[in-house]
Symmetry: C2
Subunit: 282 residues, 2 copies
């Protein structure tokens, strides 16, 4: 069985940066360190941080002092940061710079009078952080089919969740443009996402089994698995190597591996190792 | 044989308005009346105007006095109008108000620093008139395939030829958005075009023969015929009823008729009459 690992699998720039901020904070402050929501969508990384004393909280209201880290996906609203700082909490902002850019574009579009539409997952914290920058004054659209229910607007401003697939994003743009007079679009899909998705799609076409590694709560990993399913019949989304069962690979000649932006290298390496062991037995 | 005439066949608002301006001018000025290029893309209407003394010229340079009518598609550039007026020529502007709107959007996008792209036919006078408003500083793209050759720009402003098909327009937008960071789109396809195209497509699916009537130099009629060909195997593009041959309809049960925006009612009526005659014989 041939094992092919995608070049662009695993941590992206924004995730690496966020994790570094969290581990550095653990080193510097020793205690009273919190992340507002999981720093990235990977339970194994979050667990590691906990062992270093970095705890996950859902609301800054529970804090009266200490260090609060804004996760990779951003804060639910800029006011949460201001309020915390006013109360003497030290805030470290680990928001991905590409998410920051999407937030700025949302504000710009809103200020220019556009009806803001975010092409993304309604409940995803990144999307929520973007909406939070414009006081919730935007629509979130997950698929082109949802647009029929949106009140018709003449001027629509569109941005994408940074991990959106271009194919879905462009379908949403086309659907919105149909009934609008003017549409202004910022393509905020980050380059790392595009690269990872394109490579995964190519790989999925060449193999008879795809393993997609990443948190089950990770939107970008889930989307990666979806994209692979369009080209490959057997696609498994796993979080850790331990989930792999030997029987999966009976008759498999080529297996492809990719991983979401929030999947750490050690989990990818464990997976490759496990596959090699199965290979040697077979 | 059942004959079905599309509801939205023939003259649109802009064409009606332009023809009225020309015939009214013939009435009022009697002589020295010229159109800068054919007033609409229909040779039969142009011939009728000639009998009323309205002549077609290619350049205002040949004129030293008289009345010059700007055709439905607009003037090649605003300066041509200014120059003519300075030389004492009376200019009547029969540019379609929807084309005027596209011209204004092109200027706006250009002034805002966007690379202007017009989705349309490179040589079409409407597209040329839009480009003329921004001193030629725009690209014309006829199909998404052409975009690969365009230098990559971060900020792209897109408008459509008013008679463009939405399907082609949206494909061009999607292709441009791929490599741009920001795209601003004015959907300048006119409602009459959309309605006529949608109705023609529906009709083409229901019949076994489609007749599309209009000038062979009419881009919107040609596009109408193209769209019909996607759903109906036998589509004929004719200019006048005289072209129809009886043998065409052997074995035909349902024939659909539509006509371009520049096709006068009398030609549509002649066509229906001719078909009824063939029907009665058969």
């Amino acid at each position: 069985m041939e094992i092919i690992l995608a070049k662009n699998a695993g941590f992206c720039f924004g995730v690496k940066r966020a994790i570094k901020i969290a581990f550095d904070a653990a080193e510097e402050y020793k205690e009273g360190i919190y992340t507002l929501g999981p720093i990235i969508h990977n339970p194994q990384v979050v667990e590691k941080l906990e062992t270093k004393g970095v705890k996950n909280i859902d609301s800054p209201a529970v804090l009266s002092k200490g260090v609060m880290i804004i996760r990779c996906h951003g804060a639910p609203s800029p006011r949460i940061i201001e309020d915390a700082e006013e109360r003497g909490i030290k805030v470290l902002d680990a928001t991905c710079p590409f998410v920051k850019k999407a937030q700025r574009y949302a504000i710009k579009l809103y200020e220019e009078g556009y009806q803001v539409v975010v092409a993304g997952d309604k409940k995803h914290p990144e999307v929520q952080s973007v909406l939070g920058c414009i006081d919730g004054n935007g629509y979130v659209v997950e698929s082109p089919e949802e647009i029929a229910d949106m009140p018709c607007r003449r001027k629509i401003g569109i941005i994408a969740q940074t991990t959106q697939s271009y194919s879905n994003f462009s379908k949403i743009v086309v659907e919105l443009l149909k009934n609008a007079r003017e549409v202004k679009v910022f393509n905020t899909i980050c380059d790392a996402t595009t690269l990872r998705q394109e490579e995964a799609e190519d790989l999925a076409k060449k193999v008879d089994f795809m393993l997609v590694i990443g948190g089950r709560n990770s939107a970008n990993t889930t989307r990666l698995a979806q994209l692979c399913r369009e080209s490959c019949k057997r696609v498994y989304h796993i979080e850790v190597a331990e989930e792999i069962e030997e029987g999966w690979f009976d008759g498999v000649e080529k297996v492809g591996i990719t991983a979401g932006a929030s999947t750490p290298l050690w989990i990818i390496e464990d997976t490759v190792k496990k596959l090699k062991e199965i290979n040697n037995k077979g």
